[in-house]
Amino acid sequence: MRGHNAIWLVARRELVERSRERSFIIGTIVTLVILAGVIVVPELLGDDGPDEARVAVVSPAGEEVVQAAGAAQGATGLRVIGVPVADEQAARAALEDEEADAALVGDAPRIVVVEELEDDLETALQQASAGVRAATALEQAGADAEQRQAVLAPPPLEVAPLEPTDKGDDELLIITFIALFLLYVQLIGNGYMISSGIVEEKASRVVELLLSAIRPRQLLAGKALGIGLLGIGQLLVIGVFGAGLALAVGALEVPAGAVGALGVVLVSFALGYAFYATLFAVAGALVPRQEELQSSSTPLIFLLIAAFFVSFQVIDDPDGTLGVVLGFVPPCAPLVLPVRIIGGEPALWEIVGGVIVLLAATAALVALAARVYSNAILRTGSSVKLREALSGGGGR
């Protein structure tokens, strides 16, 4: 059987069998639900329009204040609505029935409330009252409408930020964080899948049957390829779902940013997965049973956690020294580079250089992993020391 054919058959088995597993399907759905929550909940909370306050008015003077407050809605964000009532008694009834939040009573209006007046409403009414009085005073002093306007509603002060920000910056920060988190989770998840898949074949002894048909390298390459494709597919589903949902509920102001980020995540996953897959393969090949996998894979999990945390630091300052340097450190690069590309403005050489270093490290590790795997895979009885597996003291 031709080599690439065997690799593809092994890869296809991984894809088909694993995507059918209940744990995989449930895991994917849970991720989608969490992502949907992250995207939809802020929109629900933030988009219910300006707050409203209803004010019962008895006198024309009160009505004037409420009208002024309604006109000045922009200042406090509170929408004041006047509710005309017949007399003070009716106003009290409206308050007690909670049909009004406050009432303006009397020619020189007092604010009547049940217990306490809300800060926003008080500010709105007091400002409106002051404005009405000032307008009356100006009118009596002989100022015309234009003059009154100039005094009472001057053009707002201009705000000049020292570090102007883009409209989509907050959004970009969130996208960067989501991208980093997805990458981290996916690298750990798929890496562990490789280890446990190798151990499954050792522990069940099926590996000897497989190796009577194909070479160890074909088996390893096929397994890594299949699980990698599964990871990319899962990321694609999650990414497209997330971006689509965000667009649908209007959470994205810069859709192109999200689509670009998804592309960066997929490429980063492919590169990072290739690097980490070799290490997880070694961790799996050295132990005979799932129970012992934890001890051999723990250092790797810690390596990924460390890479995640330093990348998290880089989000705040994507183009700072830390980010630039870590982009050239292979275990960190798959997480740091996407953070820099999505959230910052790295120089092209920094990205290309980082990728080249990562690929070179991966190539070296592939050779090492293939050697360890081939030497250790048939030693199904007990754990194999890394040094032994490297020196070829094993079965082959």
């Binding site: 031709r2 597993e21 099926v206 000897e208 009577s212 082959r396």
Partner: protein, 315 residues
């Protein structure tokens, strides 16, 4: 098969000078024997003699330090090897994979096309009477059914040679008969079949030829009849009524190797004179039986293993 490769049924499988060390221990020491086309060869030897190591080398799971395996006269390459059928001593299948999916996958890894793999899977599951469990995960099968699926895994790609490591261990008598039938049937199509076993009566019954190894090298090889002729030479069953066995000691070179209801078992040296033995027996009493003994394989095995041990230089 989708990709025709060298080697078709009707070719012979040769192990030539296989040597393999594990550290200081020599597992195989120049092991050579041949399985002819259509022959069922029993591969026997005490535990640790190197049977599993030899079979793993034939399948390419292990590489020998020296020697080679030939099929159809040519050194076996990966493509040819993929067409061999193998049952490892340590049984194993994917526990969570469904029976049909698993067999189709294995057949395809061995080079069968998708259609061939499906057809053969169905055929073997029917034949081995596990068709109704075709959609079940392997881990949910009984041990007996797992054995059947394991056998199907060795057969599903229509192998051009069969190498089975202890295929009968753990089988009930019905399973033994079914497997024996399948092996004979495969051999009849010209496939060389080799299996290891500790059940020597079974080997005697099923095999055309036997290879006995000890300490990593061959100590006897041949058809069962040849081995019998060899091992049986000079072995006589003599029943003398009412006599003790002292009389046999008077015959030069004779050695009593057994005593039972059927009489004494006496071995004569290669140049021994059975007529002298007969005369001595007649002298001792009334001879009820005097016949050359057909040795059982188990006796041959004991004998060969002992002789081999004797050959090892002291120290």
């Amino acid at each position: 098969m989708a990709t025709p490769v060298a080697g078709t049924p009707g070719a012979m499988l040769e192990l030539d000078g296989l040597t393999r060390r594990y550290g200081d221990r020599i597992a195989l020491d120049g092991l050579s024997f041949t399985v002819r086309a259509g022959q069922v060869l029993g591969f026997v030897g005490p535990n640790g003699a190197g049977k599993t190591t030899a079979m793993r080398i034939v399948l390419g799971v292990l590489t020998p330090d020296a020697g080679e395996v030939r099929f159809d006269g040519a050194p076996v390459d990966a493509a040819t090897r993929a067409r061999f059928g193998y049952m490892p001593e340590e049984r194993g299948l994917y526990p969570k994979m469904r029976v049909t999916d698993q067999l189709v996958h294995l057949a395809r890894l061995h080079g069968a096309s998708a259609a061939q793999a499906r057809e053969a899977t169905e055929r073997w599951l029917e034949r081995l009477e596990v068709a109704e469990r075709a959609g079940d995960r392997v881990e949910h099968l009984s041990l007996g059914n797992q054995q059947r699926v394991q056998l199907a895994a060795a057969l599903v790609h229509d192998p051009v040679a069969l190498v089975l490591d202890e295929p009968f261990s753990g089988l009930d008598p019905v399973g033994v008969d079914a497997l024996a039938e399948v092996l004979a049937e495969r051999a009849a199509t010209g496939v060389p079949v080799v299996f290891s076993s500790h059940q020597l009566e079974l080997v005697e019954r099923l095999c055309d030829a036997v290879a006995i190894i000890r300490d990593g090298h061959l100590v006897a090889e041949g058809t069962v009849d040849e081995l019998r002729a060899r091992g049986g030479r000079g072995l006589w069953r003599v029943h003398v009524e009412g006599a003790s066995q002292e009389w046999a000691g008077t015959v030069p070179g004779a050695e009593v190797v057994g005593d039972g209801d059927a009489g004494l078992l006496v071995r004569l040296p290669d140049d021994g004179d059975e007529q002298a033995l007969l005369r001595a027996a007649q002298g001792a009493g009334r001879v009820r039986r005097f016949a050359p003994e057909e040795p059982r394989l188990v006796d041959l095995f004991r004998e060969v293993a002992t002789v081999a041990r004797g050959e090892v230089p002291a120290g």
